[in-house]
């Protein structure tokens, strides 16, 4: 319990600090911070439709976050989940409106598998092989491939082969029986799908099991913890580098697939959603623990939904939630300073008491 507390104390303090600074910022702009945060919370959880929207918004964040967490645990930084998400989304939409003769459940599985594979290939092959064999920084290669992926998806619907006849930059809609069913539309009034929720929870459990209960996971973490020691112990570091990045892309690809089947139903402009970047925050806040990613993802889903409602209710721009996100990561990254400050404070106090005693 104590270990758990010390693990998550940092992220919680970071979040609180960010909320305080955000509060100062909104007060400086002449708003009442309590009513602003009140509308943020009620916008995220206040009624059943917003709760549904919050859960729906957290699904792509959790799935991308799981992929990023696996990479982090293996000592790798997958900064390009956004691109992996979009190429996988494009691929599963394509599968979703072709192959119309398949039965529904099989077609859904087909879409998801294709999305996962495409995400894994996009995220794993080039960055993984170049990292393993020539030592190119995966931060740069995944980031560059991410932009290429987004431009590719954009091209496909802006004059490319997936554009629907007509002038709108969007693909045809996927067939009806691949669309994940909404949960109780009259009650929820949101695009909440229990199938998507189930896939997400299952993915988190699988990621957790894989990392902590299997040999592959053990070796991935060993390579991430100390590459030299892992190599000395006879682990195939190059292989596990590629596997880690492929798995990372696989989860980001799953995120794209689930979002297409569950919410968007077609490829269309939404390329500035930045799920891949928010998911980095999610993963860091969860300390790269897959089960923690579920919670952190829900928190950021709430921030997204709450931010939109806050903008409507109290006229505070939803961009405030980005400010909070940036501050949270900054503080989480800088939390190493806390023990140093405590040490400095103790030393100063012991110095002072030493002076008083003499």
């Amino acid at each position: 319990m104590k270990a758990l507390r010390s693990t998550f104390l940092g992220p919680i303090v970071a979040t609180l600090l960010a909320i305080v600074i955000g509060g100062i910022l909104v007060s400086a702009m002449g708003y009442n911070p309590f009513s602003v945060y009140g509308s943020l919370i009620s916008g995220a959880f206040g009624n059943i439709p917003s709760l549904g929207n919050t859960i729906t918004a957290s699904i792509p964040l959790v799935l991308c976050g799981l992929g990023i967490a696996i990479a982090f645990q293996s000592g790798l930084f997958n900064i390009g989940a956004d691109g992996q998400y979009w190429v996988a989304a494009a691929a599963s939409v394509w599968v979703g409106y072709h192959f119309t003769s398949l039965p529904g459940w099989l077609h859904i599985i087909f879409c998801l598998v294709v999305g996962m594979l495409v995400g894994a290939i996009w995220g794993g092959i080039i960055p993984g092989l170049t990292k393993a064999y020539v030592g190119s920084s995966e931060v740069i290669t995944t980031m560059m491939l991410s932009y290429i992926g987004i431009l590719l998806a954009r091209y496909l619907i802006e004059g490319g082969p997936m554009q629907e006849p007509g002038s709108n930059p969007q693909s045809p809609e996927i067939v009806q029986n691949t669309q994940l069913p909404y949960f109780n539309q009259t009650l929820m009034q949101s695009q909440l799908s229990l199938v998507a929720v189930a896939i997400t929870i299952l993915a988190a459990v699988v990621a957790w099991f894989l990392l902590y209960k299997t040999t592959i996971g053990y070796q991935l973490r060993a390579v991430g913890f100390n590459q030299r020691a892992a190599r000395y112990a006879g682990m195939r570091v190059t292989l596990y580098t590629v596997i880690a990045l492929c798995l990372s892309g696989l989860f980001a690809g799953l995120a794209g697939s689930v979002q297409m089947l569950g919410v968007d139903h077609r490829l269309m402009d939404g390329f500035s959603s930045n799920y891949g970047y928010t998911a980095i925050v999610v993963s860091l806040l969860a300390r790269n623990n897959p089960l923690g990613v579920l919670l952190a993802g829900l928190f950021f889903g709430a921030l997204t939904t709450g931010g939109q409602n806050m903008q409507i209710i109290s006229n505070v721009p939803a961009a405030l939630t980005d400010v909070l996100q940036g501050l949270i990561i900054f503080f989480v990254a800088c939390e190493r300073i806390v023990p140093q400050i405590i040490q400095w404070y103790r030393r100063r106090r012991s110095l002072r008491s030493g002076v008083a005693a003499s």
Partner: protein, 306 residues
Amino acid sequence: MSIFADAQIWNSTLSMAVPLALPAIGGTFSERTGVVNVAMEGIMLMGAFFGVAFSYWTGSAWIGLLMALIIGGLTSAAFAWGAIRVSADQVVLGMAINIFAAGLTAFLLDTVFGFSGTPPTTPKLPNVSLPGIDKIPYVGQIFTNQSILVYVMIAIVILSHWFLFHTRLGLRMRSVGENPLAADTVGINVWRLRYAGVIIGGLLSALGGAYLSIGVLNSFSVNMTNGRGYIALAAMIFGKWTPLGSFGAALLFGFSTALGIVLQGNGVSSNLLQMIPYALTIIALTGLVGRSIPPAADGLPYDPKR
């Protein structure tokens, strides 16, 4: 081929290269001293927004430019503190700065200026033509009616090359990024030079951002840098972490953008053309042609107490 004979495309290539070359050279300074810098995008946004805001409030684009530099410098100082003093993960910190800056500038744009955006009466920096040179046919057209920051950029390219590779301080800065322990042993203050590198990087990125908002236009819009900070990162790598190389890469990438605009409507997808910088960077990193190798201590925090 007629496209290339038209001086106009070279004129716009040069002006499109500015917001890539400045942050790319800034990133070069930072990474040469050993601090991985992906925060160019965020610092550009800060420079762009505060450049416009202070131009409007004070009525002088020059004060706007000065404030853009100050705020960009302060933002990069916060980044430098986290990266150097706290030894935090530099890529994570850079992401934090980028997300924070995108949020803050969008938030302030809405709350300070309202939904109509920055006022059209905001002053901008002057455009100038080089006297004498602008009379030369063809070449003159390239240097006609360019923002003053275009010429500033050319001066910065030359100065920073000279500084990094032909002065003692430049050599020391590079040594800190290659082998900080050795530099420390001979009495070089590693942290101070790293702070200097990151802050110079911040100033140049903010200058690039201000070029977009008060150099080319006189307004700010949400996320107006539109990923240029990341293309600058690509230009820095493709330019092998040198000022001249960064400038060359920025010209190449600027040219592909200019070409994309000219070719629009000719059936060539601008989305595909825009992939060029990113694809070239991957190729450069993987060493298919003349491999780019980062400074040896790039991204490794240095703790002088050990």
